[in-house]
Subunit: 366 residues, 2 copies
């Protein structure tokens, strides 16, 4: 038996819908990649989202947050489902996710959108537009209108009912996400596009000013600014023009999902949420897909690739991360596809079998 | 000479960049369509946007707003340009547009996104995904985060600089846009999708609740709700699933631009902004394109089709509107294309010539 030079604690949050299935695959892949690299993982599975609402009555139990905080990294499956859609705000699965992000202070959400050559045909965009897309959205995750106060319901001077939220950013919040974005762009292709609505919103004018002020520290990064409506268009018109995009919480929510769909394979896309220190949160960008839950149909690769991001960005274990990425590519090259990315001439497999093929690929590269 | 049974006053706001060129074409087309239908137009051209900043020092002169208010309808070209991009907020061309919308109280912005069979190949989406797209975004235009207070700059309790905006909706604001949307859906294909972020924002929960409350008055309209991030994805995945979309000001800004780019021909897309009473505001959805201004390269058809919307929605002159729409289709069918929509086998023309071909088409159908 291999002796483990390193040992990490990982909190697993399977969550709802297809969450448990994809987490189970990712766990096996982590174990194998770890053993090949002399890394031991101590996993702790905790309830979260709808599953926690059903079992404990809250979407993020205190014990779950405490466990997550004490671990070296957190891997989340997916949360939510029709069942809890009508719940009051504090009893929504989504609220659990927001509390988790806030509790872990993971302000920087990295969302790659890459079109793999093997899957370029899955995109609804023409092949020549989609092929070669490789961009990274750096989304601010713990500020802006998601968390801004005041928020709520009330009445105006005329006695009419109103509801309101506040988009607010403080200097340190813009600066820290801008820094992550500049550093990310520097490690990628040196191009950073900051997206805002500075022709209308004060919060965006401030954002633009602070991002611009940091640019002189990164002379090697080519900075541009784009209005959010134009960015939504340019992602459709010519997504290859983008390298790294940085934007606020709500624009990042919208644009990263748009970018992911442009790849045509959202079942493949991972994400990382990082703070200044402490454990990062890693999750596939897809949802809980309640309609196919428990049917062994889910694509586990987004979660497997999230585990790779966990190794790379969360633990600094680049070699183990690369192993997982290579194994995923190898399984795809050997023609295995889950339903969401299947096309003629390939081998249709379920969630578990896809996991086994990735394990085989990882093993054979040992 | 024909005697005119009807006479309308139209305020023309050419604005900046390609604005004057496309307005000039639309004016000729309106004149011809009017004379064929026994309608007289009295045009008044007023400065607005950057042009007004340069000549009068403000982006929306009082006289311009007054003229617009007193007329039967307003046709706008485009505003903005690099030249004024760094201006302070109250001296931005965009601020002029926001003041105009507010001043005319045009709370309902109708933005069709239609893929014409003749132009389906202009889309970056695969032909089978793009062809047949025919949707209408009904965007709330005078509320939400664009106008909400408090807004501005300040410091937080820790003395850090902050900037903030307020997303706020009152019941009457949601109700009146929802009503326009239900009525629009009823006249189209009977499907209405309300887009919000009700899993996170109180303003969206309120929006969803009020839209839902109106549904019982429209049993013939099939209402659905979608989160904005998902809507941004679904527009790329399968835009044909949408008929009418209703959403708030900022989400509408983003999604209508995304939808327009999906058609691949934003040089073709008009818009109408309507209030409860009083003149409507009609404008192409494209910008001022300063890089091609004055070069006779602009596509005037979006403005010509905006003039058709002006006739239909603004003045109730459906026959004259239909004449213009038919003339545009005929000019396209005869193979004329400006650069933005040109493809092999067609005839490349400039802005003026495209206008002349539309006039010929209108005349020959007289
Ligand atoms: C589930 C929801 C609260 C969440 C968000 O809006 O951040 C999701 O859409 C995401 O992007 O991770
Ligand atoms: C120019 C700008 C203020 C405007 C908006 O954001 O409303 C534009 O993008 C539009 O959609 O008409």
């Amino acid at each position: 038996a291999a002796t483990h030079s390193k040992s990490y604690s990982i909190t697993l949050l399977p969550g709802d819908g297809i969450g448990p299935e994809v987490i189970s695959v990712a766990k096996s892949v982590l174990n194998l990649a770890g053993s090949l690299e002399g890394i031991e993982f101590r996993f702790k599975e905790m309830p979260m989202g709808g599953a926690a609402l059903d079992s404990v009555g809250v979407p993020l139990p205190e014990e779950t947050l405490a466990a997550a905080r004490q671990s070296d990294a957190v891997l989340l499956g997916a949360i939510g489902g029709y069942k809890w859609d009508k719940n009051e705000k504090h009893l929504k699965p989504e609220t659990g996710l927001l509390l988790l992000r806030q509790g872990l202070r993971v302000f920087a959400n990295l969302r790659p959108a890459t079109v793999l050559p093997q899957l370029a045909d899955s995109s609804t965009l023409k092949r020549e537009v989609a092929e070669g897309v490789d961009l990274m959205v750096v989304r601010e995750l713990t500020g802006g209108i998601y968390f801004g106060k005041p928020r709520g319901f009330g009445t105006n001077e005329k006695g009419e009912e109103i509801a309101f939220n506040t988009e607010v950013y403080a200097s340190y919040e813009v600066d820290r996400i801008a820094r992550v974005a500049f550093e990310t762009a520097r490690k990628r292709h040196g191009k950073l596009c900051s997206v805002d609505k500075a022709n209308v919103l004060e919060a965006s004018m401030f954002w633009r000013k602070r991002v611009l002020a940091m640019a002189s520290e990164y002379p090697d990064v080519e900075l541009s600014h784009m209005y959010v409506d134009n960015a939504a268009m340019q992602l459709v018109r010519n997504p290859k023009q983008f390298d790294t995009i940085v934007t606020n919480n709500i624009f990042g929510d919208i644009l990263s999902d748009e970018a992911s769909m442009i790849t045509g394979s959202i079942g493949m896309l991972p994400s990382a949420s990082l703070g200044k220190s402490g454990p990062g949160l890693f999750e596939p960008i897809h949802g809980s897909a309640p309609d196919i839950a428990g049917q062994d149909k889910a694509n586990p690769l987004a979660t497997v690739l999230s585990a790779a991001m966990l190794l790379k960005y969360g633990l600094g274990e680049e070699r183990a991360a690369k192993r997982i990425e290579n194994a995923v590519m190898d399984a795809l090259n050997r023609g295995f596809r889950t339903g969401d990315i299947h096309s003629a001439g390939n081998k249709l497999v379920g969630c578990k079998e896809m996991g086994e093929e990735v394990l085989k690929s990882a093993d054979s590269q040992a």
